[in-house]
């Protein structure tokens, strides 16, 4: 579903991502962990076509992101760590805007908005301007917009930040359902307990380099993910 090969990205002198390769298969929830500034967000932003990378390639369902970015972007959804949405729109206008961009027929769109806004209990607030939303509400709206076009691949940067416990639980369920239906999810997190329980595979990044990746069992063995992560950080 998502093949990242030898990806490198620098900001001036600083190498943010260094020769990173990752393969995410359909049905997988892939966790991406690392300390602050390790290169997680940069990798995600490169993988969705926001940042142009210096070397390597990103393939989404076999299509090169560099060669056909629009086709690739149709297959995916992205949620950044801080969902700065269009504050000047209402929630429903934003969702309809996303629906129009992804050419979702009006009827289907309404049905999905009803479903996902209902799940996150945001229906009543959809007429409110986004500027009046709390961080958590913006995060919920970003999640609804990501699921709205039922993408095959979802990339999320710290998706649980700002969500209340119920919404976090619902998101985990939705992530599992999405992958059980053949989709794939690649997300970064600092909450290692969540990664340990939720992810099929995990990758650990340090100073832009991949230091460990594989199935959860392969990465952590008999230890906890936290122990492995801290051990790798100290090396």
């Amino acid at each position: 579903m998502l093949n990242i090969e030898h990806l490198s990205k620098s900001f001036g002198e600083k190498k943010a991502v260094d020769d990173l390769s990752l393969h995410i298969l359909p049905g997988e929830i892939f966790g991406f962990i690392g300390h602050n500034g390790a290169g997680k967000s940069t990798t995600l932003r490169c993988a969705v076509g926001i940042l142009q990378f210096d070397a390597g390639s990103v393939l989404i369902n076999g299509t090169s992101l560099a060669e056909d970015p629009v086709k690739c972007k149709r297959e995916l959804a992205y949620i950044p760590d801080n969902p700065d949405l269009y504050d000047f729109m209402s929630g429903i206008k934003y969702l309809n805007f996303i629906g129009d961009i992804f050419a979702i027929p009006a009827g289907v769109r309404q049905e999905r908005i009803r479903k996902y806004a209902g799940i996150f209990e945001l229906t009543e607030d959809l007429a409110q301007p986004i500027s009046a939303y709390s961080h958590g509400m913006k995060q919920k709206l970003a999640l609804i917009s990501a699921w709205l076009h039922e993408p095959k691949l979802i990339l999320m940067d710290e998706p649980f930040v700002g969500l209340d416990p119920k919404a976090s639980h619902l998101l985990k369920e939705m992530m599992r359902e999405h992958c059980d239906a053949g989709g794939a999810i690649f997300f970064s997190t600092h909450v290692l307990e969540v990664a340990e329980k939720l992810c099929d595979k995990v990758a650990i990044i340090k100073q832009g380099k991949l230091v460990k990746a594989g199935t959860m069992e392969e990465v952590k063995g008999d230890d906890s993910l936290e122990e492995v992560f801290l051990e790798l950080e100290e090396e």
Binding site: G49, Q52, M89, I104
Partner: protein, 532 residues
């Protein structure tokens, strides 16, 4: 505690003098001094100079007519109005909308101290504005009518009374604005409308000022006796400047009582209003049928929503939407006369009025440059268009299309009005419509291209990209230079080929450049946008 809060307040007010929002860093010492000198020059030389001139023109005549009090009434009145209106929005935003209200209220600071600090800030701003009028007025008054001890002491007290009246009025108006804005719908449009009314009133008074002053001086005695009889309080107010102790004591006491009442009112309502951020009636969502749009139309619609959501954006980059049609109507009413006069002046150059009409229309069109700051206004939301499955060129085209739509349609109306009243050949009339249309295509492309070439994405206040970005400044002045060149070249020698061929050349040039710019937006402009 109060001192700390006041220091913070003043640092906030003068933040722009210490911090460069464009470069996102503190200014150097030299730059800070230069900014303060610039501010001082503007306030003292321009505003102060203007009111010194006004004082000089009024004081002598009114004093000689035996109504010196009318002079102080007028200048005091202007000081109160300027001070109150100059700081009313500052009062509203500084008192009730301050971003740190929540933070300060959560700290162990008495609410009264927070209010006092805010009010001192309002007082200082109001006094700054009113002093630009009253200080020169008092000095001129003392110089013309003599500076006795009573006149000087009462004059100083008049200054203090006016500064407190400004504070009282600012607080009252600020409170009204706060009350209204809690319940108001369509805030953006109402703000724009209020600003337009204010601008119109300002220019009306500005253009009539000479007449009003002459009328006042001619009929000083008549107006004086009328005011003295019908509005004795105003007479007493003016008498303070003349050193009348009774009036001074009376107004000092009344002002103190009014201030006390305002203080009680504010301390009682402050908490409720300052924390009423989301108090507006919540609009509940009800499902409505939606009509799917193409990605381009969705992007265009998003740009239009962005434009209409911000009074700053509309006032600074879109006044032409209103002004261009108004010009069209004015052309229908007065245009025939004006254009035939131009034809008479340039009798040696046939159809010169057609060229000048096109020039005028293109110049007015430059009032609409909403595409120029549009890329910058994406700000932190830039990740949305960059991660969505749309060509970056389509995103940029939508920005240009918004400007073309909001300028082109009013411009066609105005140019058709012009063509109707223009006394010229049918071909010249036709080009009076085609040329402005081609120009609006070129101008929209130009604004969008410069917007993506010179983006300003790290802003914290939207006014920075709207008013101060290089793209906006260049398109505004560049357009005027281009239009002057278009008219100048015709008058200098272009008329030899005739107006119609001359207009044809410019129409083709603008259309061709417009198409080239669109092509650039689709290719290199798109690359730049994606790389931002």
């Amino acid at each position: 505690m109060l001192k700390v809060l006041l220091k913070k307040q003043l640092a906030e007010v003068f933040k722009g003098y210490f911090y460069d929002a464009k470069k996102n860093r503190m200014r150097s010492k030299g730059a800070v001094i230069a900014w303060f000198v610039f501010f001082g020059v503007i306030m003292i030389c321009i505003l102060g100079g203007m009111f010194t001139a006004l004082s000089l023109s009024l004081c002598g005549g009114l004093t000689q007519a035996g109504v010196g009090w009318l002079y102080f009434l007028l200048m005091g009145g202007i000081a109160v109005i300027l001070g109150a209106f100059g700081s009313v929005f500052n009062t509203y935003s500084g008192l009730y909308l301050a971003k740190d209200n929540d933070q300060l209220l959560s700290l162990p600071i008495p609410v009264r101290t927070v209010i006092t600090a805010r009010l001192v800030n309002v007082y200082l701003m109001g006094t700054l504005y009113s002093s630009m009028v009253l200080l020169p007025a008092l000095i001129v008054g003392w110089a013309v009518a003599g500076a006795t001890a009573a006149r000087v002491i009462c004059g100083i007290l008049l200054f203090l009374i006016v500064s407190f009246l400004v504070l009282i009025l600012s607080c009252l108006l600020g409170w009204v604005v706060a009350k209204i804005s809690v319940k108001l719908k369509n805030k953006s449009f109402i703000t724009v409308l209020a600003a337009l009314v204010f601008i119109a009133a300002y220019y009306l008074i500005y253009f009539k000022a000479n007449f009003l002053i002459r009328d006042m001086l001619t009929n000083a005695a008549v107006y004086g006796s009328r005011i003295k009889g019908a509005a004795h309080v105003l007479y007493l107010f003016g008498r303070i400047g003349e050193g009348d102790w009774l009036s001074t004591v009376l107004f000092t006491v009344v002002t103190a009582i009014l201030f006390l009442l305002i203080w009680i009112g504010i301390t009682r309502s402050f908490l409720k209003l300052a924390t009423a951020g989301g108090a507006a009636a919540k609009k509940r969502y009800t499902e409505k049928a939606v009509k799917a749009k193409t990605p381009f139309r969705a992007l265009l619609s998003k740009e239009l929503i962005r434009f209409t959501s911000s009074p700053n954006y509309m006032l600074n980059c879109g006044l032409g939407v209103l002004i261009i049609p108004i010009c069209g109507v004015l052309l229908l009413i007065k245009g025939g006369e004006m254009l035939s006069a131009l034809n008479d002046v340039f009798a040696a150059m046939p159809d010169a009025a057609a060229v000048l009409l096109c020039t005028g229309l293109c110049m007015i069109a430059s009032m609409n440059n909403m595409a120029a700051p549009s890329v910058s206004l994406e700000g932190k939301s830039l990740w949305i268009p960059q991660s969505l499955p749309v060509e970056p060129g389509t995103v940029l085209r939508a920005k240009g299309a918004m400007q073309l739509l909001l300028s082109g349609v009013p411009l066609v109306f105005a140019s058709v009005c012009g063509a109707i009243v223009l006394d010229a050949s049918p071909a010249a009339r036709l080009f009076c419509v085609l040329l402005p249309l081609a120009f609006s295509l070129f101008y929209a492309g130009c604004c969008t291209a410069l917007g993506v070439r010179m983006p300003l994405l790290s802003w914290t206040n939207e006014l920075v990209p709207i008013k101060q970005s290089g793209a906006v400044v260049i398109v505004l002045f560049g357009d005027w230079i281009l239009c002057i060149a278009m008219a100048g070249l015709y008058l200098l020698g272009g008329h030899r080929i005739g107006a119609v061929p001359y207009l044809l050349i410019w129409t083709v040039l603008f259309a061709a450049l417009g198409v080239l710019l669109l092509r650039w937006l689709d290719t290199r402009g798109a690359e730049r946008f994606q790389a931002l």
